[in-house]
């Protein structure tokens, strides 16, 4: 992993204001497009960026303008790696309710985390819970088909 040849790297600190992450997120996505990313791989990173950066600003730093969100990321045509740290107290991922349980379907939280885990190849939180490290390895996997969960690449699954 450490000897991977990255094509692009960036380090930024973002203010804790609504939508402060959007320009940097668009910059990252522009680089991924330039590196040939598309389809489910690109969409998954886009979704993970939107969810995790907004989480850091809103839930991590609670929009406290004295705090910043620190982002380090690297990209190549095969991999995308990012670490996002806020200056908040942190959270325990295991204590986030399972938003996919029938009784929680209409609850407000947990969906962003579920989407990040579903689309990224690796997701790791530090012990304090204020930093998330994510990696996406390009797979060219197709999107899930309707009436087919999970597909597991089995073409015989009825539609």
């Amino acid at each position: 992993m450490s000897d991977h040849r990255w094509s692009w790297t960036a380090v930024r600190s973002l203010p804790s204001q609504p939508d402060a992450h959007v320009p940097f997120m668009l910059e990252i996505l522009h680089e991924l497009k330039r590196l040939g990313w598309d389809g489910r791989d690109y969409f998954g990173v886009e979704l993970a960026l939107a969810e995790s950066l907004a989480n850091a600003i809103h839930h991590g730093n609670r929009l406290d303008e004295s705090k910043q969100v620190h982002v380090e990321c690297k990209a190549s045509d095969e991999r995308f790696w990012i670490r996002i740290c806020d200056e908040g107290a942190g959270f325990k991922p295991l204590l986030v309710p399972d938003c996919t349980a029938d009784e929680n379907l209409e609850c407000s939280g947990g969906r962003g985390l579920a989407l990040i885990r579903a689309f990224m190849s690796h997701v790791e939180h530090n012990e304090r819970g204020n930093c998330v490290t994510m990696e996406k390895i390009r797979s060219n996997e197709p999107f899930m088909r309707r009436n087919c969960r999970p597909c597991d690449g089995d073409d015989s699954t009825p539609k």
């Binding site: 609504p18 939508d19 959007v22 997120m25 489910r40 969409f43 886009e46 979704l47 939107a50 969810e51 907004a54 938003c99 996919t100 029938d102 379907l105 209409e106 407000s108 969906r111 962003g112 579920a114 989407l115 579903a118 197709p142 999107f143 899930m144 088909r145 309707r146 969960r149």
Partner: protein, 117 residues
Amino acid sequence: MATPRRIKITESGKVSVITFNDSKIIDESEIQEFGQELYDLVERDGRKKIVLNFANVEFLSSAALGKLIGFDKRVKQHGAELILSNIRPEIYEVFAITKLTKLFVIKDDEADALAAI
């Protein structure tokens, strides 16, 4: 009544067909506006049959999903009906991962939705 900025409303008989003006809603203020415009359909306008046509939607964050769930609650509270249609594979996967396919009635296209509502 102000013209909504995030959605477009077309009447098809007694059914209101809603399409989205933005392919991606990312900004928080836009998400708030999007939610309020949906809520107005039932709370202010009293519409009873609604089809949400997602043909134009390329990206949907959990914040926007939260607005859809809030809309669904209001639809039920007001005794209205809601069907979603024309959902692209990537957006359908977002619904499937979060199990919202259990909460919403989803049809392949607008004609199917209109026939079912």
